[in-house]
């Protein structure tokens, strides 16, 4: 019996990992979520399982996370503010919800003797990488977003706890993730726009930004592959597909899947917003060397995501 705690347990990736863990009746899963972006709909099935428990709480409440950590063996820490684009509108948010929240998780682990942690880091920690595809040991980057800065700060905290307190960590630098339960990002924005104005699509930047994406189930396969291959105190992997697309490619696939042929309008410039990286493409040879390969291409993952949104249009409604 292994007891897992998943922070952001009702979120996109957290709830998907929970479902995967619950396939094994020997696993006990505690989901911790403040429902700022988590969704009760994502955990409906999980809540029916006897080996699943939901704790509503916030990671800035150290007493709450301390209590949730009792008896935990292994932590999946996915709770985060993932809104890279609006970082400058509320500068303190990434600090609090990412850096400080991660510290609180680590310190609760220390006090409760939980010693393994999976962490969702992100490609933007590489800033505007000079080496593309970007390997895990790229030159020390200059941060270009509060989001990237906060996630790099989390990585450093996790590594220091590994050194100081004997933790083992698995740090994954994700590209954007697509697929079931997706509820945030360009596919969501484009889909919503096209539902409202099917004849035109407004695209931030010049549409030539090159990005890489990964399908959620491929992402979870990669995480479990890395955990099975535990090699070091600190295990860092880029996660992405070995390909990229332009924003305009993705806009075309989304439109096609919706049966539309909108006129694309561009805000112009080589990036969508301050801190947007016009070319994100991670070198994923390290995780592939463990035998993992993505099952879906980027195009297939985009199409899968559109299908999912079609079947779940409640996700497009403004949150109450």
């Amino acid at each position: 019996m292994t007891r897992y705690l998943i922070t952001g347990g009702a979120g996109y990736i957290g709830s998907s990992v929970a479902d995967r863990l619950l396939q094994d009746a020997n696993n006990e899963v505690i989901a911790f979520d403040n429902f700022s972006t988590g969704r009760r709909e994502f955990i409906e099935d999980a809540l029916k399982k006897p080996n699943y428990k939901l704790i509503e709480g916030d990671l800035l409440d150290t007493a709450a996370i301390d209590k949730a950590m009792e008896g935990i063996d292994f932590v999946f820490h996915f709770a985060a503010n993932a809104d890279i684009r609006r970082g400058c509108e509320h500068p303190r948010k990434d600090l609090e919800q990412n850096t400080i929240a991660t510290f609180n998780v680590l310190d609760a682990m220390r006090r409760n003797k939980a010693r393994e942690i999976v962490f969702s880091s992100t490609g933007p920690i590489y800033g505007e990488a000079q080496i593309i595809p970007t390997p895990e040991d790229a030159p020390l980057p200059i941060q270009t977003s509060l989001y990237g800065a906060s996630k790099l700060a989390c990585e450093g905290l996790i590594e220091a706890f590994c050194e100081g307190f004997g933790f083992t960590s698995y740090i994954f630098r994700f590209v954007s993730i697509l697929g079931e339960r997706y509820q945030h990002g360009h596919v969501y924005d484009f889909y919503k726009q096209l539902m409202e104005t099917p004849e035109r699509l407004y695209i931030l930047g010049n549409g030539k930004q090159r990005k890489s994406y990964l399908y959620i189930q491929d992402c979870i396969d990669a995480i479990f592959t890395a955990v099975e291959h535990k090699e070091n105190k600190v295990n860092i992997y880029n996660l992405g597909t070995p390909e990229y697309c332009e924003v305009t490619d993705s806009a075309t696939w989304i439109s096609e899947e919706m049966g539309l042929n909108p006129k694309f309008e561009f805000s112009g410039g080589d990036r969508g917003w301050v801190g947007d990286n016009p070319f994100i493409f991670l070198d994923t040879k390290k995780i592939q060397s463990l035998g993992w390969k993505p099952k879906l291409t980027i195009k297939e993952a985009v199409v899968q995501t559109v299908k999912y949104l079609k079947e779940n249009e409640w996700l497009l409604e403004d949150r109450k």
Copy 2:
């Protein structure tokens, strides 16, 4: 007239920079300090100057730093918890006094339209560097101390504010600094030990740890050289001497300068404490390319520090 704010303004480096700035009567200097490690003795001369002002306050008090930032043009941010060795005894301290405090400085700058910042980062952000001497663009390191992790987090925050809010930053990754007003580190510890027990010196590790040091006035020269050569939004420089010594070398120089010949006793192992890096040696070609060179060797800086401690034994007394 330029208005400077120096956080940690009554500290070792902060008070030394203040004295340098006050040599120009056109500079206005506001020192901000909570006197956790700052010393009133260091600012006695400064306080006599009409263009100097002291504000007692803590960087976790956002209202206090916000008020201190009014009308400021340029910030020297030196306030920090610099106790790398005891990080694991109080894990939250580096987060609060370094990462969160730095965020508060940056956010107060943003609100008050101060746009230039000098920041004291540190060699330990390179973790256990694989490339030695370590250049500024070393491969993304794994953090091995809460102190290093917190300083790297500060760097990332500063860089993100530069990108998002048009700041200019000068980030200096220091080796340990020696010289006048030194009050913390191995020379201090060894001097104090030898005052109490002149016949033996207890050394953490095997004494073969290789470290680099820089004299305080050379450090300040380098900072002002870099600021004069402003090149980018983010300007990062290693600061150190182009040489290193072993801990045992330094122990010998200290003993000689004190006229002692103690027996060295070693705690053993290749490092002094968890997270201690047995070999810190920074590549300083970048700052040297601007025409800067250190005036003192490591040995001269160690001897200078011992002379200073001899003349200022009040620094060895336990703080009230």
